[in-house]
Symmetry: C2
DNA sequence: TTTATTTTTTAGCCTTATCTAAATTTAAAG
DNA sequence: CTTTAAATTTAGATAAGGCTAAAAAATAAA
Protein backbone atom coordinates (compact mmCIF):
# COMPACT_ATOMS: atom_id res chain seq x y z
CA UNK A 1 0.00 0.00 0.00
CA UNK A 2 1.20 3.50 -0.75
CA UNK A 3 0.92 6.63 1.34
CA UNK A 4 -0.74 9.80 0.15
CA UNK A 5 2.66 11.45 -0.33
CA UNK A 6 3.99 8.52 -2.32
CA UNK A 7 0.92 8.53 -4.56
CA UNK A 8 1.34 12.22 -5.24
CA UNK A 9 4.98 11.75 -6.20
CA UNK A 10 4.11 8.90 -8.57
CA UNK A 11 1.43 11.01 -10.22
CA UNK A 12 3.79 13.96 -10.61
CA UNK A 13 6.52 11.78 -12.12
CA UNK A 14 4.01 10.26 -14.53
CA UNK A 15 2.90 13.68 -15.78
CA UNK A 16 6.48 14.92 -16.11
CA UNK A 17 7.54 11.82 -18.06
CA UNK A 18 4.51 12.27 -20.28
CA UNK A 19 5.30 15.90 -21.00
CA UNK A 20 9.08 15.86 -21.24
CA UNK A 21 10.10 12.25 -21.74
CA UNK A 22 11.61 9.62 -19.45
CA UNK A 23 14.25 10.39 -16.82
CA UNK A 24 12.65 13.07 -14.71
CA UNK A 25 15.04 15.36 -12.83
CA UNK A 26 14.92 15.94 -9.09
CA UNK A 27 14.38 19.66 -9.62
CA UNK A 28 11.52 19.12 -12.04
CA UNK A 29 9.73 17.03 -9.45
CA UNK A 30 10.48 19.52 -6.67
CA UNK A 31 9.04 22.27 -8.86
CA UNK A 32 5.86 20.41 -9.67
CA UNK A 33 5.32 19.25 -6.08
CA UNK A 34 6.20 22.64 -4.61
CA UNK A 35 8.77 21.08 -2.32
CA UNK A 36 12.56 21.01 -1.96
CA UNK A 37 15.02 19.01 -4.02
CA UNK A 38 16.35 17.33 -0.89
CA UNK A 39 12.87 16.10 0.00
CA UNK A 40 12.51 14.73 -3.51
CA UNK A 41 15.80 12.85 -3.25
CA UNK A 42 14.64 11.20 -0.03
CA UNK A 43 11.34 10.19 -1.57
CA UNK A 44 12.67 8.88 -4.88
CA UNK A 45 15.15 6.73 -2.97
CA UNK A 46 12.24 5.27 -1.05
CA UNK A 47 10.19 4.77 -4.21
CA UNK A 48 13.15 3.07 -5.87
CA UNK A 49 13.43 0.70 -2.89
CA UNK A 50 9.76 -0.11 -3.42
CA UNK A 51 10.44 -0.83 -7.12
CA UNK A 52 7.94 1.69 -8.44
CA UNK A 53 10.60 3.86 -10.05
CA UNK A 54 14.01 3.14 -11.45
CA UNK A 55 16.62 5.57 -10.34
CA UNK A 56 20.35 6.04 -10.30
CA UNK A 57 21.96 8.85 -8.37
CA UNK A 58 22.17 12.08 -10.35
CA UNK A 59 20.45 10.47 -13.34
CA UNK A 60 16.77 11.18 -12.69
CA UNK A 61 13.79 8.89 -12.15
CA UNK A 62 11.47 6.85 -14.39
CA UNK A 63 8.37 4.92 -13.43
CA UNK A 64 8.53 1.14 -13.60
CA UNK A 65 5.58 -0.76 -15.00
CA UNK A 66 4.21 -1.12 -11.48
CA UNK A 67 4.73 2.58 -10.71
CA UNK A 68 3.05 3.61 -13.91
CA UNK A 69 0.07 1.43 -13.17
CA UNK A 70 -0.35 3.00 -9.72
CA UNK A 71 -0.02 6.51 -11.15
CA UNK A 72 -2.55 5.87 -13.89
CA UNK A 73 -5.02 4.48 -11.39
CA UNK A 74 -4.79 7.66 -9.30
CA UNK A 75 -5.31 9.74 -12.43
CA UNK A 76 -8.31 7.59 -13.32
CA UNK A 77 -9.81 8.22 -9.89
CA UNK A 78 -9.07 11.94 -10.06
CA UNK A 79 -10.80 12.33 -13.41
CA UNK A 80 -13.79 10.16 -12.56
CA UNK A 81 -14.40 12.19 -9.42
CA UNK A 82 -14.15 15.38 -11.47
CA UNK A 83 -16.84 14.06 -13.78
CA UNK A 84 -18.99 13.22 -10.77
CA UNK A 85 -18.58 16.68 -9.30
CA UNK A 86 -19.51 18.43 -12.55
CA UNK A 87 -22.16 16.07 -13.91
CA UNK A 88 -23.91 15.06 -10.69
CA UNK A 89 -23.21 17.84 -8.20
CA UNK A 90 -23.27 20.72 -10.71
CA UNK A 91 -19.88 22.12 -9.91
CA UNK A 92 -18.19 24.35 -12.49
CA UNK A 93 -15.10 23.01 -14.26
CA UNK A 94 -12.85 25.45 -12.42
CA UNK A 95 -14.03 24.31 -8.98
CA UNK A 96 -13.34 20.59 -9.06
CA UNK A 97 -9.60 20.09 -9.19
CA UNK A 98 -8.80 20.74 -5.51
CA UNK A 99 -11.58 18.44 -4.31
CA UNK A 100 -10.51 15.71 -6.75
CA UNK A 101 -6.96 16.03 -5.39
CA UNK A 102 -8.38 14.73 -2.12
CA UNK A 103 -10.84 12.21 -3.51
CA UNK A 104 -8.24 10.55 -5.75
CA UNK A 105 -6.64 9.01 -2.65
CA UNK A 106 -9.74 7.17 -1.40
CA UNK A 107 -8.86 3.49 -1.41
CA UNK A 108 -11.54 1.15 -2.76
CA UNK A 109 -11.48 -0.52 -6.14
CA UNK A 110 -15.14 -1.42 -5.79
CA UNK A 111 -16.00 2.24 -5.22
CA UNK A 112 -14.30 3.35 -8.42
CA UNK A 113 -15.81 0.55 -10.46
CA UNK A 114 -19.29 1.52 -9.26
CA UNK A 115 -18.64 5.22 -9.71
CA UNK A 116 -17.54 4.56 -13.28
CA UNK A 117 -20.78 2.66 -13.92
CA UNK A 118 -22.87 5.37 -12.23
CA UNK A 119 -21.30 7.98 -14.51
CA UNK A 120 -21.91 5.69 -17.51
CA UNK A 121 -18.24 5.09 -18.28
CA UNK A 122 -17.20 8.58 -19.34
CA UNK A 123 -14.28 8.91 -21.77
CA UNK A 124 -13.13 12.38 -20.77
CA UNK A 125 -13.06 14.55 -17.67
CA UNK A 126 -14.46 18.11 -17.57
CA UNK A 127 -11.16 19.49 -18.85
CA UNK A 128 -11.05 17.18 -21.84
CA UNK A 129 -8.51 14.81 -20.33
CA UNK A 130 -9.01 11.12 -21.17
CA UNK A 131 -10.07 8.78 -18.37
CA UNK A 132 -7.96 5.61 -18.20
CA UNK A 133 -10.04 2.41 -18.17
CA UNK A 134 -9.83 -0.06 -15.29
CA UNK A 135 -6.84 -1.71 -16.94
CA UNK A 136 -4.99 1.56 -17.14
CA UNK A 137 -5.45 1.91 -20.87
CA UNK A 138 -5.65 5.48 -22.10
CA UNK A 139 -7.24 5.85 -25.50
CA UNK A 140 -4.90 7.95 -27.65
CA UNK A 141 -6.55 11.08 -29.00
CA UNK A 142 -5.30 13.37 -31.71
CA UNK A 143 -5.21 16.85 -30.34
CA UNK A 144 -3.03 19.80 -31.15
CA UNK A 145 -2.09 22.89 -29.18
CA UNK A 146 -3.76 26.01 -30.53
CA UNK A 147 -0.27 27.55 -30.63
CA UNK A 148 0.68 25.09 -33.39
CA UNK A 149 -2.06 26.32 -35.72
CA UNK A 150 -1.38 28.73 -38.57
CA UNK A 151 -3.44 31.62 -39.80
CA UNK A 152 -6.88 30.61 -41.10
CA UNK A 153 -6.74 27.15 -39.56
CA UNK A 154 -9.70 26.04 -37.51
CA UNK A 155 -10.50 23.50 -34.78
CA UNK A 156 -12.75 22.39 -31.97
CA UNK A 157 -11.52 22.87 -28.42
CA UNK A 158 -11.15 19.40 -26.89
CA UNK A 159 -9.15 20.15 -23.78
CA UNK A 160 -7.01 22.45 -21.69
CA UNK A 161 -3.39 21.80 -20.80
CA UNK A 162 -3.44 23.77 -17.58
CA UNK A 163 -6.51 23.48 -15.41
CA UNK A 164 -5.94 26.13 -12.78
CA UNK A 165 -9.04 27.99 -11.67
CA UNK A 166 -7.66 31.30 -12.94
CA UNK A 167 -7.07 29.99 -16.45
CA UNK A 168 -10.45 28.26 -16.61
CA UNK A 169 -12.19 31.42 -15.41
CA UNK A 170 -10.32 33.39 -18.06
CA UNK A 171 -11.77 31.01 -20.65
CA UNK A 172 -15.25 31.30 -19.12
CA UNK A 173 -15.30 35.08 -19.52
CA UNK A 174 -14.53 34.60 -23.22
CA UNK A 175 -17.05 31.78 -23.58
CA UNK A 176 -14.35 29.31 -24.54
CA UNK A 177 -14.99 25.74 -23.40
CA UNK A 178 -14.83 22.13 -24.52
CA UNK A 179 -16.63 22.00 -27.86
CA UNK A 180 -15.99 25.63 -28.84
CA UNK A 181 -15.07 26.20 -32.45
CA UNK A 182 -11.91 28.31 -32.73
CA UNK A 183 -10.50 29.92 -35.87
CA UNK A 184 -7.11 31.62 -36.12
CA UNK A 185 -7.83 34.97 -37.74
CA UNK A 186 -4.32 36.29 -37.42
CA UNK A 187 -1.03 35.24 -35.90
CA UNK A 188 1.80 37.61 -35.03
CA UNK A 189 5.20 36.33 -36.13
CA UNK A 190 7.04 38.39 -33.51
CA UNK A 191 5.47 37.14 -30.24
CA UNK A 192 3.21 34.30 -31.40
CA UNK A 193 0.13 36.17 -30.17
CA UNK A 194 -3.09 35.48 -32.05
CA UNK A 195 -6.42 36.92 -32.96
CA UNK A 196 -8.99 34.15 -32.79
CA UNK A 197 -12.67 33.84 -33.59
CA UNK A 198 -14.93 32.11 -31.07
CA UNK A 199 -18.71 32.08 -31.53
CA UNK A 200 -18.73 35.17 -33.75
CA UNK A 201 -16.46 37.18 -31.49
CA UNK A 202 -12.82 38.01 -32.03
CA UNK A 203 -10.30 37.87 -29.19
CA UNK A 204 -6.67 38.72 -28.89
CA UNK A 205 -4.75 36.04 -27.01
CA UNK A 206 -1.12 35.70 -25.98
CA UNK A 207 1.18 32.80 -26.80
CA UNK A 208 0.74 31.48 -23.26
CA UNK A 209 -3.00 31.10 -23.73
CA UNK A 210 -2.57 29.39 -27.10
CA UNK A 211 -0.12 26.95 -25.52
CA UNK A 212 -2.74 25.77 -23.06
CA UNK A 213 -5.66 25.01 -25.35
CA UNK A 214 -5.98 21.70 -27.17
CA UNK A 215 -7.86 21.58 -30.45
CA UNK A 216 -8.98 18.90 -32.79
CA UNK A 217 -8.36 20.37 -36.19
CA UNK A 218 -11.03 20.04 -38.86
CA UNK B 1 -7.57 23.05 10.34
CA UNK B 2 -7.54 19.61 11.89
CA UNK B 3 -5.60 16.56 10.83
CA UNK B 4 -7.16 13.23 10.01
CA UNK B 5 -5.97 11.82 13.35
CA UNK B 6 -7.39 14.75 15.30
CA UNK B 7 -10.73 14.42 13.52
CA UNK B 8 -10.92 10.74 14.37
CA UNK B 9 -10.23 11.41 18.04
CA UNK B 10 -12.92 14.10 18.18
CA UNK B 11 -15.42 11.77 16.58
CA UNK B 12 -14.56 8.95 19.01
CA UNK B 13 -14.87 11.25 22.02
CA UNK B 14 -18.23 12.49 20.75
CA UNK B 15 -19.59 8.96 20.44
CA UNK B 16 -18.26 7.95 23.86
CA UNK B 17 -19.75 11.02 25.53
CA UNK B 18 -23.02 10.27 23.81
CA UNK B 19 -23.08 6.68 24.98
CA UNK B 20 -21.66 6.96 28.49
CA UNK B 21 -21.89 10.63 29.47
CA UNK B 22 -19.34 13.45 29.71
CA UNK B 23 -15.80 12.97 30.96
CA UNK B 24 -14.40 10.28 28.71
CA UNK B 25 -11.52 8.25 30.11
CA UNK B 26 -8.18 7.79 28.40
CA UNK B 27 -8.63 4.03 28.31
CA UNK B 28 -12.10 4.28 26.79
CA UNK B 29 -10.68 6.36 23.94
CA UNK B 30 -7.72 4.02 23.51
CA UNK B 31 -10.12 1.11 23.30
CA UNK B 32 -12.37 2.72 20.71
CA UNK B 33 -9.46 3.96 18.61
CA UNK B 34 -7.54 0.70 18.89
CA UNK B 35 -4.46 2.51 20.12
CA UNK B 36 -2.46 2.86 23.36
CA UNK B 37 -3.37 4.94 26.38
CA UNK B 38 -0.07 6.81 26.10
CA UNK B 39 -0.88 7.85 22.55
CA UNK B 40 -4.28 9.05 23.72
CA UNK B 41 -2.75 11.17 26.47
CA UNK B 42 -0.49 12.87 23.94
CA UNK B 43 -3.38 13.58 21.62
CA UNK B 44 -5.85 14.85 24.22
CA UNK B 45 -3.21 17.24 25.49
CA UNK B 46 -2.86 18.59 22.00
CA UNK B 47 -6.63 18.79 21.52
CA UNK B 48 -6.94 20.62 24.84
CA UNK B 49 -4.32 23.15 23.66
CA UNK B 50 -6.44 23.68 20.57
CA UNK B 51 -9.51 24.30 22.76
CA UNK B 52 -11.62 21.54 21.23
CA UNK B 53 -11.76 19.50 24.40
CA UNK B 54 -11.56 20.40 28.06
CA UNK B 55 -9.25 18.19 30.00
CA UNK B 56 -7.56 18.01 33.37
CA UNK B 57 -4.95 15.38 34.10
CA UNK B 58 -6.45 12.13 35.32
CA UNK B 59 -9.98 13.51 34.97
CA UNK B 60 -10.94 12.52 31.43
CA UNK B 61 -11.90 14.63 28.41
CA UNK B 62 -15.06 16.40 27.24
CA UNK B 63 -15.68 18.15 23.95
CA UNK B 64 -16.02 21.93 24.00
CA UNK B 65 -18.70 23.59 21.88
CA UNK B 66 -16.15 23.98 19.11
CA UNK B 67 -14.99 20.38 19.41
CA UNK B 68 -18.52 19.09 19.32
CA UNK B 69 -19.31 21.10 16.22
CA UNK B 70 -16.29 19.65 14.42
CA UNK B 71 -17.20 16.11 15.50
CA UNK B 72 -20.80 16.47 14.39
CA UNK B 73 -19.71 17.78 11.02
CA UNK B 74 -17.54 14.73 10.46
CA UNK B 75 -20.43 12.48 11.44
CA UNK B 76 -22.66 14.39 9.04
CA UNK B 77 -20.20 13.80 6.23
CA UNK B 78 -19.79 10.13 7.12
CA UNK B 79 -23.53 9.49 7.04
CA UNK B 80 -24.20 11.49 3.89
CA UNK B 81 -21.49 9.56 2.06
CA UNK B 82 -23.01 6.29 3.31
CA UNK B 83 -26.36 7.34 1.85
CA UNK B 84 -24.62 8.17 -1.42
CA UNK B 85 -22.90 4.81 -1.55
CA UNK B 86 -26.10 2.86 -0.91
CA UNK B 87 -28.62 4.98 -2.80
CA UNK B 88 -26.57 6.00 -5.81
CA UNK B 89 -23.84 3.39 -6.15
CA UNK B 90 -25.92 0.41 -5.00
CA UNK B 91 -23.64 -0.74 -2.24
CA UNK B 92 -25.10 -2.95 0.50
CA UNK B 93 -25.42 -1.47 3.98
CA UNK B 94 -22.64 -3.69 5.32
CA UNK B 95 -20.14 -2.49 2.71
CA UNK B 96 -20.15 1.26 3.20
CA UNK B 97 -18.68 2.02 6.60
CA UNK B 98 -15.00 1.58 5.74
CA UNK B 99 -15.27 3.72 2.65
CA UNK B 100 -17.18 6.41 4.55
CA UNK B 101 -14.41 6.40 7.16
CA UNK B 102 -12.16 7.73 4.42
CA UNK B 103 -14.64 10.01 2.68
CA UNK B 104 -15.66 11.77 5.92
CA UNK B 105 -12.28 13.54 5.95
CA UNK B 106 -12.62 15.21 2.55
CA UNK B 107 -12.50 18.93 3.17
CA UNK B 108 -15.03 21.04 1.26
CA UNK B 109 -18.16 22.58 2.73
CA UNK B 110 -19.47 23.24 -0.75
CA UNK B 111 -19.08 19.56 -1.61
CA UNK B 112 -21.16 18.42 1.35
CA UNK B 113 -23.83 21.02 0.76
CA UNK B 114 -24.18 19.89 -2.84
CA UNK B 115 -24.06 16.21 -1.91
CA UNK B 116 -26.85 16.80 0.60
CA UNK B 117 -28.95 18.45 -2.12
CA UNK B 118 -28.14 15.68 -4.60
CA UNK B 119 -29.34 13.09 -2.10
CA UNK B 120 -32.46 15.19 -1.44
CA UNK B 121 -31.62 15.99 2.17
CA UNK B 122 -31.89 12.53 3.72
CA UNK B 123 -32.77 12.32 7.42
CA UNK B 124 -31.14 8.98 8.17
CA UNK B 125 -28.18 6.96 6.96
CA UNK B 126 -28.46 3.33 5.81
CA UNK B 127 -28.09 2.12 9.39
CA UNK B 128 -30.90 4.29 10.71
CA UNK B 129 -28.59 6.90 12.24
CA UNK B 130 -29.80 10.49 12.00
CA UNK B 131 -27.91 12.87 9.72
CA UNK B 132 -27.04 16.19 11.40
CA UNK B 133 -28.14 19.22 9.39
CA UNK B 134 -25.60 21.83 8.22
CA UNK B 135 -25.91 23.61 11.55
CA UNK B 136 -25.07 20.46 13.46
CA UNK B 137 -28.60 19.93 14.67
CA UNK B 138 -29.55 16.30 15.18
CA UNK B 139 -33.27 15.67 15.25
CA UNK B 140 -34.05 13.63 18.37
CA UNK B 141 -35.76 10.35 17.62
CA UNK B 142 -37.52 8.05 20.03
CA UNK B 143 -36.04 4.64 19.65
CA UNK B 144 -35.59 1.81 22.07
CA UNK B 145 -33.21 -1.12 22.19
CA UNK B 146 -34.93 -4.41 21.43
CA UNK B 147 -33.39 -5.70 24.67
CA UNK B 148 -35.65 -3.31 26.62
CA UNK B 149 -38.83 -4.84 25.23
CA UNK B 150 -40.92 -7.32 27.19
CA UNK B 151 -42.71 -10.41 25.99
CA UNK B 152 -45.45 -9.69 23.44
CA UNK B 153 -44.26 -6.14 22.74
CA UNK B 154 -43.80 -5.15 19.13
CA UNK B 155 -41.86 -2.56 17.14
CA UNK B 156 -40.39 -1.48 13.82
CA UNK B 157 -36.64 -1.70 13.39
CA UNK B 158 -35.33 1.83 12.90
CA UNK B 159 -31.63 1.35 13.38
CA UNK B 160 -28.65 -0.69 14.48
CA UNK B 161 -26.32 0.24 17.31
CA UNK B 162 -23.33 -1.60 15.95
CA UNK B 163 -22.72 -1.44 12.24
CA UNK B 164 -19.94 -3.92 11.71
CA UNK B 165 -20.16 -5.93 8.51
CA UNK B 166 -20.47 -9.20 10.43
CA UNK B 167 -23.45 -8.00 12.45
CA UNK B 168 -25.18 -6.52 9.41
CA UNK B 169 -24.65 -9.71 7.45
CA UNK B 170 -26.09 -11.68 10.37
CA UNK B 171 -29.20 -9.51 10.11
CA UNK B 172 -29.33 -9.96 6.34
CA UNK B 173 -29.44 -13.75 6.62
CA UNK B 174 -32.46 -13.38 8.93
CA UNK B 175 -34.09 -10.76 6.68
CA UNK B 176 -33.95 -8.17 9.43
CA UNK B 177 -33.45 -4.61 8.21
CA UNK B 178 -34.60 -1.04 8.69
CA UNK B 179 -38.41 -1.19 8.54
CA UNK B 180 -38.75 -4.79 9.67
CA UNK B 181 -41.56 -5.47 12.12
CA UNK B 182 -40.30 -7.37 15.16
CA UNK B 183 -42.39 -9.02 17.88
CA UNK B 184 -41.00 -10.48 21.10
CA UNK B 185 -42.54 -13.95 21.31
CA UNK B 186 -40.64 -15.01 24.38
CA UNK B 187 -37.90 -13.69 26.63
CA UNK B 188 -35.68 -15.80 28.87
CA UNK B 189 -35.27 -14.33 32.33
CA UNK B 190 -31.97 -16.12 32.90
CA UNK B 191 -29.80 -14.86 30.04
CA UNK B 192 -32.07 -12.26 28.39
CA UNK B 193 -32.18 -14.25 25.18
CA UNK B 194 -35.33 -13.90 23.09
CA UNK B 195 -37.49 -15.59 20.55
CA UNK B 196 -38.67 -13.00 18.05
CA UNK B 197 -41.02 -12.98 15.08
CA UNK B 198 -39.86 -11.31 11.89
CA UNK B 199 -41.92 -11.55 8.69
CA UNK B 200 -43.70 -14.73 9.76
CA UNK B 201 -40.53 -16.46 10.91
CA UNK B 202 -39.36 -17.08 14.45
CA UNK B 203 -35.76 -16.64 15.49
CA UNK B 204 -33.83 -17.22 18.63
CA UNK B 205 -31.50 -14.31 19.42
CA UNK B 206 -28.99 -13.68 22.19
CA UNK B 207 -28.95 -10.69 24.51
CA UNK B 208 -26.05 -9.24 22.51
CA UNK B 209 -28.14 -9.13 19.34
CA UNK B 210 -31.10 -7.56 21.14
CA UNK B 211 -28.79 -4.88 22.52
CA UNK B 212 -27.80 -3.78 19.06
CA UNK B 213 -31.18 -3.32 17.40
CA UNK B 214 -33.16 -0.11 17.76
CA UNK B 215 -36.94 -0.27 17.52
CA UNK B 216 -39.71 2.25 17.40
CA UNK B 217 -42.42 0.65 19.52
CA UNK B 218 -45.98 0.68 18.27
C1' DT C 1 -5.34 3.53 56.89
C1' DT C 2 -1.91 1.09 54.80
C1' DT C 3 -1.20 -1.94 50.79
C1' DA C 4 -2.22 -3.55 46.23
C1' DT C 5 -4.16 -2.83 41.75
C1' DT C 6 -5.63 -0.19 37.98
C1' DT C 7 -5.42 3.96 35.35
C1' DT C 8 -2.99 7.62 33.52
C1' DT C 9 0.98 10.14 32.47
C1' DT C 10 5.88 10.74 31.33
C1' DA C 11 10.25 9.50 29.20
C1' DG C 12 12.52 7.89 25.48
C1' DC C 13 12.46 5.91 20.90
C1' DC C 14 10.69 5.10 16.01
C1' DT C 15 8.83 6.27 11.25
C1' DT C 16 7.23 9.46 7.69
C1' DA C 17 7.71 13.56 5.43
C1' DT C 18 9.39 17.81 5.59
C1' DC C 19 13.14 21.57 5.93
C1' DT C 20 18.02 24.19 5.83
C1' DA C 21 22.78 24.08 5.20
C1' DA C 22 26.72 21.81 3.60
C1' DA C 23 29.02 18.58 0.59
C1' DT C 24 29.44 16.39 -3.73
C1' DT C 25 28.75 15.51 -8.58
C1' DT C 26 27.72 16.96 -13.14
C1' DA C 27 27.47 20.44 -16.64
C1' DA C 28 28.88 24.85 -18.57
C1' DA C 29 32.29 28.45 -19.50
C1' DG C 30 36.49 30.32 -20.33
C1' DC D 1 41.60 21.40 -19.37
C1' DT D 2 40.72 24.18 -15.43
C1' DT D 3 37.39 27.02 -13.16
C1' DT D 4 32.72 28.23 -12.15
C1' DA D 5 28.00 27.42 -11.78
C1' DA D 6 24.09 24.51 -11.36
C1' DA D 7 21.96 20.29 -9.92
C1' DT D 8 21.78 16.70 -6.69
C1' DT D 9 22.67 14.30 -2.58
C1' DT D 10 23.83 13.98 2.38
C1' DA D 11 23.73 15.51 7.20
C1' DG D 12 21.28 17.02 10.80
C1' DA D 13 16.65 19.01 12.66
C1' DT D 14 11.80 19.22 13.32
C1' DA D 15 6.79 17.98 13.84
C1' DA D 16 3.07 14.54 13.85
C1' DG D 17 1.60 10.38 15.53
C1' DG D 18 2.55 6.18 17.12
C1' DC D 19 4.89 2.53 20.54
C1' DT D 20 7.10 0.34 25.04
C1' DA D 21 8.56 0.67 29.59
C1' DA D 22 8.68 3.09 33.77
C1' DA D 23 6.84 6.47 37.06
C1' DA D 24 3.05 8.64 39.30
C1' DA D 25 -1.69 9.19 40.66
C1' DA D 26 -6.15 7.48 41.71
C1' DT D 27 -8.97 3.50 43.26
C1' DA D 28 -9.93 -0.59 45.42
C1' DA D 29 -8.79 -4.09 48.93
C1' DA D 30 -7.32 -5.62 53.06
MN1 LIG E 1 -7.78 17.97 -12.02
MN1 LIG F 1 -9.19 17.34 -14.97
MN1 LIG G 1 -20.52 4.12 9.34
MN1 LIG H 1 -23.88 4.50 9.40
Amino acid sequence: MFTLAEENYLKAIFHLENDYGAGVSTNAIADKMDTRASSVTDMIQKLADKKVISYQKYKGASLTKKGKSIAVNIIRKHRLWEVFLVEKLDFQWDEVHEIAEQLEHIKSDELIQRLDLFLEYPDFDPHGDPIPDRNGYIKPTEKKLLSKLKKNQRGICVGVKESSATFLQYLDTRKIGIGSSITVIDKEEFDQSMTILVSNKQFFITKKIAENLYLKTI
